[in-house]
């Protein structure tokens, strides 16, 4: 090696969850846990990935962390695997508590599981999957950043991400119903309506601190004449941080609760708000944990739902949104579900001044907040903001006044990037623009 020793050891961050978790470990427990996960939960996929990777480093430029750190190879996807999984495999789990601390920091805070690197590896090696296995091991060892572990605890005890109590949930909906009725007097947020066509589900943070999104969605449903409902019981929260901590058991419980809630209400389908990771958990990971090939109840993401309404003439543009806008493609619904063209059709319908950021669609750079990274909280804020300089450059190059980010995690991450790099851009959900510019036939004068 050269004079500089690149690696996580140079950038350790103090986090009480990691510190206290690592302090409780013994080498025996680490070894036993790693071997248990490797033998019991991984198979040909991890073996093949580890064996055939030819260490070419071609994945590096896929990763925003690498692109934002002036060629520091320890931020490349393969560099992260080298610092975590390869060591665990080589040493057959005989690693120190300090090593687990560092591996946890890499896996939880320096990889957003966005899978862009899969598109750059000639063998299609899925580094996000490897990082999830590392997280699974760290979860079983109890070495997890405190903030995200708190959300997983919330999921486990309340079945929602934000410690929202049963009555607070209903309260929040009634409050938003009240707010909306100022403008749309006939509007209701139908609770527990059995046999409705649509169950609308949101993530825990919506009732907690992005409540206006519920109001806007209610206006859209009402004005488009949808037969819809929201549940009054658990199962309303489609989010899933347990999926990101490595707590696969809670992940499966959450998804089961969500699907069973829709089945209890006998709805035809679930429409979910503008959230990426929640979509991943119902479409990619949670369903598989429950041994469902696809979700047992049809699920439509907001982007596709808006597109449908527009196509069917149920959503109409009252006035164009004149500011110049750009669109950030969130990994979980674009690289995860291919909704990029539908998203563009909706954006173009409302925004005549649309500018593409480059790269875009399934090649878009990650927001650096997803994959649970933003949920690791304030100790790691700089990790993700400094780790995404390339996103700031990408946004700036568009010259747009407004960035549309149809995903909660992306939204949080981009907000910090826009402030951190002083881009002076406005940030909006797509529903913000739709709500502002749509025809509202039932609105009071």
């Amino acid at each position: 090696m050269g004079a500089v020793e690149y690696g996580i050891q140079n950038r350790k961050v103090d986090d009480i969850g990691l510190i206290q978790g690592a302090a409780r470990l013994t080498p025996e427990r680490i070894q036993k846990t790693i071997q248990k996960v490797l033998a019991g939960e991984t198979g040909a996929k991890l073996k093949a990935y580890s064996e055939i990777c030819v260490r070419c480093g071609l994945c590096a430029e896929a990763c925003h962390f690498y692109m934002s750190h002036d060629g520091d190879p320890s931020y490349s996807p393969v560099g992260k695997v080298k610092q975590t999984m390869w060591v665990m495999l080589d040493k057959k789990g005989k690693v120190s508590p300090e090593f687990i601390y560092q591996a946890a920091q890499v896996a939880y805070t320096e990889c957003n599981l966005c899978k862009r690197c899969v598109q750059y590896c000639p063998f299609g090696i899925d580094t996000a999957y490897i990082m999830l296995v590392v997280r699974r091991i760290c979860h079983l060892l109890g070495v997890i950043p405190q903030y995200i572990q708190d959300t997983a605890h919330s999921h486990a005890s309340t079945m929602n991400q934000m410690w929202v109590k049963d009555d607070e949930w209903i309260d929040a909906l009634q409050w938003q119903e009240d707010e909306a009725r100022d403008e749309i007097p006939n509007l209701r947020i139908p609770l527990e309506k059995e046999g409705a066509e649509i169950m609308y589900s949101v993530i825990g943070p919506e009732p907690k601190f992005r409540t206006q999104l519920i109001m806007q969605a209610a206006v859209l449903m009402n004005e488009a004449g949808m037969d819809w409902t929201m549940p009054a019981t658990t199962g309303w929260d489609n989010s899933d941080m347990a999926m990101y901590t490595g707590d696969n058991e809670i992940m499966a419980r959450l998804k089961r609760d969500h699907f069973e809630c829709a089945q209890r209400l006998k709805v035809k389908r679930i429409v979910m708000g503008e959230c990426g990771h929640a979509f991943r958990s119902i479409y990619d990971m949670g369903n598989r944990a429950l041994a469902w090939r696809m979700h047992p109840v049809p699920v439509v993401h907001a982007l596709e739902f808006y597109w449908e309404l527009l196509r069917d003439g149920k959503l109409k543009v009252a006035k164009p949104f004149e500011k110049t806008v750009t669109l950030h493609d969130p990994c979980n619904v674009i690289r995860g579900r291919g909704l990029h063209e539908k998203a563009r059709e909706v954006v173009r319908a409302f925004c005549p001044n649309f500018i593409e950021m480059i790269p875009n669609r399934e090649h878009n750079y990650c927001c650096s907040a997803g994959g649970g990274v933003i949920n690791c909280g304030p100790p790691f804020k700089n990790v993700r903001v400094q780790g995404n300089r390339v996103k700031a450059e990408q946004l700036k190059a568009t010259g747009a006044e407004v960035c549309i980010s149809p995903c909660h995690n992306c939204h949080g991450g981009l907000e910090d990037i826009i402030h951190g790099y002083k881009l002076g851009m406005e940030l909006k959900f797509l529903i913000d623009i739709i709500y502002e510019c749509m025809e509202k036939p039932n609105a009071a004068e």
Partner: protein, 219 residues
Amino acid sequence: MVEIYNFVVGPLAWVGWGIFVVGIIYKLIYMYSLARAKDYSSLDYMSLPFSLRSIFVWSIPFYATNWKRNPAMTVATFLFHICLIAVPVFLLAHVVLWQKFFGITWATLPDQAADYMTLAVIAACVFFGVRRATDLRARYVTSYKDWLILILVASPFVTGFLAYHQIFNYKFMIILHIVSGLAWLALIPFTRLSHMFLGLFTRAYAGSEFGKVRHVKDW
């Protein structure tokens, strides 16, 4: 010398080829049963059309985004792999051996072309070596194993080239050539070189997930 030569083209060749063929079959069966036991939630999404699409697309130079981004690496990689397979299979001197021992024969490359292609393989190995030593992206993740593999892959071509041009002792060189070639074959199933066949399956899986589930391109 003659006895040694007879030994390496006789019993040793059977051993080398045997390990190569049986090793690959064993590895494929082992990996498939392991995938069925442990990775069913991935295996279930495999799709033949999307697998083939992915393999096909990545086999075209400068088509995938990342091939475009790394032109030198793309040229070296494609040249290397094409020559690496074509030279041993279609070399006249090799086909003659197949004819002598099994009575079968097929098209051959002109010696001059094979000579240039051998040089191309060696040049690509030098390129990979220099890149491994100087490009931080590769150097950071390189271990001694990667160097051994590179030397292993280059040696049958270097020795073959020297033998063909009768540089140094021909008889010694040809034996070295055969031994290193057989070692290379025998090690394919058990080292990083297994990407020769396993790489098709990881590519196929990525293609299936991206095509069938994610509805996006994986290149």
